[in-house]
Structure formats: C-alpha cells, structure tokens
Symmetry: C2
Subunit: 251 residues, 2 copies
C-alpha cells in the first residue's frame, strides 16, 4: 500500500529472520487483508468456542488465558504487534483459551483453512511458520521453568527481561525503558502470583536498584545482573533456518 519496505508487521517480523520471495509475501498479505478493531478489555474470543480463525496482531497488546471453574485465572501468553495468535489451537476444533485485549487493538483475522494454500504451495514459508510456533513453545517452556522453580522476584525479573527482549525485535531502538500496559493483577495471573505480591516484589526490585518505574513504564537498570540471576536466554534474536527447504523449487 504505502511506499514502505514492509507494509505489514508480520512480513517485517518474518523477513527479520529469512528472505521472503515475492510470492511468499503475497501469501502473507492474504492473511492480513481483513482488519478488526477491539476496544480495551474486550474479549476477542472465549474458550470452548468453534475457533476457526487465527489472528495477526496489527497494533496493541493482548493476552490469552484459561479460567478454572472457581475463578482462578492463568494468563498463558502476552501478544504484541507482529505476533500470530492461534497456532496452538490449530490442532483442535474449539479454542482452548480465552483471548482478551489489554488496550485498544487492531487484529487481522483469517480462517485457519487458508493455511492450506501456504502448506501446499510454499514449503519454505510453511517451515517458517512451523519455526515460529516451535519458538513460541520454547518461550513457554521458559515460563514454565519460571513458575515451577523461581521465587516471586525472579519470576518478575524474568518477565521484564522477556518482554524487553521481545519488544526489541520490532522496535530496534528500544534500550532500557518500555511501557507495560498490564495491571499487576494480570502480571500476577501470568506468573502465578497474587496482585498484592506482585506489588511487593516490584517494590523490592526497585528498592534494590535493579529497576525503576514511572507511571506504567519500566526501566531496567541492571540488565546484565538480572539476566544472570534468572539465567536468561534471548529466544527472539535468531531463528535456525538452515534446515528449511530451498526456495527456487517451489511446487
């Protein structure tokens, strides 16, 4: 549309990792042809619903979660612009989680059935999508490690580092400060803590001079030290594309 190199943030994100053919860019563009806006806190879809759509995030933050029957909530993943929402649910005919907008968001929904074109026509793009989904899984494993074996303070440190690393992929000039449009209750529901203890632990991190807060922005003061403390790996900065089917022999 515009004269920009990448009109789409999905294409921008993916070509960060590998070269895309024009044909592949075309397939991706198809996934982003529709747009849908949601207001803050609105539920994009509920769980246990016939979910045949995936979504590309165009702008805004969202998160998916599962409820227990008694009201406990586990937030599963926070989504940012350029993310694809819905790969896990591809294996089921109903959604397995709820999806809620953290603020105003703009999404590009597309039916999962449309993936079959990509699967049939572009092995290379398929491999790329597979890798994205695989990486999401590793990021989830990191979170699992945090919930299973880290203290509250460590979990928060991990969460801040992870968010920072993720935002850096699309926002290259991000240094040490970023906005965090989540409530402490939401952060707690992601990290398996209560909102009260999130408040206390963040206060502690600030007292100790590791982070700084103003409004809902966070500044990470001692990134290296925090990374060492939680044994942090950046899963966002590379992707192994060496095994991908070669282009030039499509179809």
């Amino acid at each position: 549309m515009s004269g920009e190199r990448h009109p789409s943030c999905l294409v921008a994100k993916l070509s960060y990792y590998t070269d895309l053919s024009e044909e592949d860019e075309g397939y991706l563009a198809m996934l982003e042809k529709d747009e849908q806006k949601f207001s803050a806190s609105s539920v994009v879809y509920a769980s246990e619903v016939r979910g045949q759509n995936l979504y590309v995030v165009k702008s805004g933050w969202l998160f998916s979660y599962i409820m227990l029957t008694d009201g406990r909530r586990q937030i599963l993943k926070v989504y940012h612009p350029g993310d694809v929402i819905g790969f896990p649910d591809i294996a089921f005919d109903r959604t397995t989680s709820d999806l809620q907008a953290a603020g105003e968001v703009c999404l590009c929904p597309f039916p999962k059935k449309e993936l079959d074109v990509i699967f049939s026509k572009s092995p290379r793009l398929t491999a790329l999508l597979f890798s994205l989904s695989a990486r999401d899984q590793v990021i989830l494993l990191d979170l699992l490690r945090a919930l299973g074996r880290m203290s509250a303070i460590e979990r928060l440190a991990y969460f801040l580092l992870d968010t920072q690393a993720k935002l850096r992929v699309t926002c290259h000039d991000l240094t040490d400060t970023f906005r965090l449009p989540l409530t402490q209750t939401e952060i707690g529901d992601l990290l398996g803590l209560t909102n009260v203890y999130v408040s206390k632990s963040l206060g502690r991190l600030e007292e100790d001079g590791l982070i700084e807060r103003k409004q809902n922005a966070v500044r990470i003061l001692k990134e290296a030290e925090l990374r060492r403390q939680v044994d942090f790996f950046d899963r966002y900065n590379t992707l192994d594309t060496s095994w991908f089917p070669q282009p030039g022999q499509p179809r």
Copy 2:
C-alpha cells in the same frame, strides 16, 4: 517388517487421527530407520549443544528438563512411545533443554534436515506434524495453568489424569491402573514441588480414597471426580484435521 498393520508406533499413533497415504507412511518410515538404545538415567543430549536431531520414541519413558545454575531443575515434558521429541528446538541451532531416559529406552534419531523432504513433498503430512506440535503446546499450557494456579494436590491429580489420558492413546485397553516409572523427586520437578511434598500430597490423595498405589503403579479410583476438581480436558483423543490440504494433489 512384520506382518502387523503398523510396524511403527509413530505410524500407529498418527493414523489414529487421519488416513495416511502409502507415500506418507514411507516418509515416516524413513524417520525411524535408525535405532539407538539408552540405559536407565542416561542423558540422551544436554542443553546448549548443537542439536540437529529429532527422535521418535520406540520404547520407554524419557523426560526433558532445564536446570537453573544453582541446581534447581524444571522437568518440561515426559515422553512415551510414539512421541516425537524435538519439535520445539527446531527453531534453534542448539538444544534448549536436556533429555534423560527414565528407564531403558529405544529411540529413532533423525536429522531435522530430513523434514524438508516432508515439507516439500507432502503438505498433508506436514500439517499433521504441525498439529502434533501445536497440540504439545496446548498440553504445555495446561501444565502451565497447573503450576501457576493449582495447589499441590490438584497438580498431582492433574498429572495423573494427564498421564492416564496420554497412555490410553496407544494402549486402548488401559482402564484405571498404570505403571509410573518416575521418582517422586522427578514428579516434583515437573510440578514445581519438592519430593517431600509430593509424598505427602500423594498420601493425602490415597487417604481420601481418590487413588490407590502399589509399588510404582497408580490406580485412579474416582476419575470423574478428579477430572471435575481440576477441570480436566483430554487433549489426546481428537485432532482437528478438517483444514488439512487435501491429498490426491501432492507435489
């Protein structure tokens, strides 16, 4: 090889969900052409190692885990016969976790580079593998919910139900009893608990008449009640294949 319908447990598992063409069965057979045995407790691979292999589990149980530098361990996933190990790591050029055999195991290793043939030649089989990986991710999300928002007893109930449901896919006649060849320390490292508290909580479940133990076998006495208590979903019994590219137009 033999006169059985499915000489391979991977083929057996996959054709449980969808019909495979002979060609597709051929591709899968290629992945299982090599065999490698490991003795109990041996480490199949360590993390941060150039990992270009995936594995099909032929027999035995294994688990993957990540260590923190101070010795804390988080077990990420327990593998059983018919499972494919390594999809998450496909996105990276190094392994992101360690893999250890719980007892004697037999594995079929194959280089991930071999997947490119499947990606290029069989869109349908690719979609099936994608779905398996996606399903693993949902199972992981269930575990995340357990670690983040459930009590010790609930986590154990969830773990037992999950293990039972998974074993039922390959062992159709499994009713309410199964062997559990993991130590309580390992179960604790999976569920984010100490071995001591695993012992106490299992004892509690038994006292309450929900389960029964003898040796290292478990019998689930009140499956329906336990399922209700932890809001359990069986992720293993179906797979949505409706969106798969149609066969008959391969290549």
